[in-house]
Symmetry: C2
Subunit: 168 residues, 2 copies
Amino acid sequence: MFFDQTIPPFIKILKNLSAILDKADAHATSRKFDVSILLNDRLAPDMFNLIRQVQIACDTAKLGAARLAGKTGPVNDDGEKTLSDLKERIKQTVAYLETFAPGDFAGAEERHITQPRWEGKYLLGEDYLLQHAIPNIYFHVSAAYAILRHNGVEVGKKDYLGELPFKH
Amino acid sequence: MFFDQTIPPFIKILKNLSAILDKADAHATSRKFDVSILLNDRLAPDMFNLIRQVQIACDTAKLGAARLAGKTGPVNDDGEKTLSDLKERIKQTVAYLETFAPGDFAGAEERHITQPRWEGKYLLGEDYLLQHAIPNIYFHVSAAYAILRHNGVEVGKKDYLGELPFKH
């Protein structure tokens, strides 16, 4: 259950985010401006910029899976500056998520999940999954999308959701 | 499983959205402008405004639960114009979600889920849940949040996530 709710959906939304960044890149090229203007934009002065939204989306996926499985994920230095840096960050995160198997999440439901800023408090695995990791990853991907949409990049809901496995 | 992944998280995020709307109301009052300016704002000319984002968040929750349980949800006419209309829409949606019990979702995993715009195609219940309903509800709540944040309303991640059930 934890595998199904984290690994495939997180991989999918991160790949969708990478494709959205490609559209941002194409948009900047066609309008002849530097895509770094988009990467450094934000929706409010005290809100994170696009680079940080992508980094946090990746971290939410990486740390969400790692913590629920009782593992320690790889460390990232958050030094991404360019669009290809961000795409590489997403690619590495997807590759990390692909190392997980369903059995890695044995006992995740009752696992005590914490992080430094919680000062010793913890969430049970299921609460962490449903009330923290899942809402958070979609929040940051949506924020990245919103920054680009606000700047005129032609992305739509289909880019966010990606291909759906329709049956006939 | 389907109950846990839909009913409590959807109720929670809709209640968080209602509290975020209260903050928008207080912000407009303190700045002495009509809150309908916020309700009708959007991040791009061809993107939905705040009213529509709230309506779709409610519909995603209502229809997501109803379809997975093989039920037909109540019909809404989308006539909301004021902040209190939107809060009432959220309240009614939460009340509908509260009518569900875990047993309502028996067989949801393999259920064929469709909607008019899919022209006869369908998703299996689990795909619909993980690749459509969940990403969508958080997308629209995040979009509502982003519109307000962009307009200077003092909301933060804690308003979006709501209270977390920390243990010591």
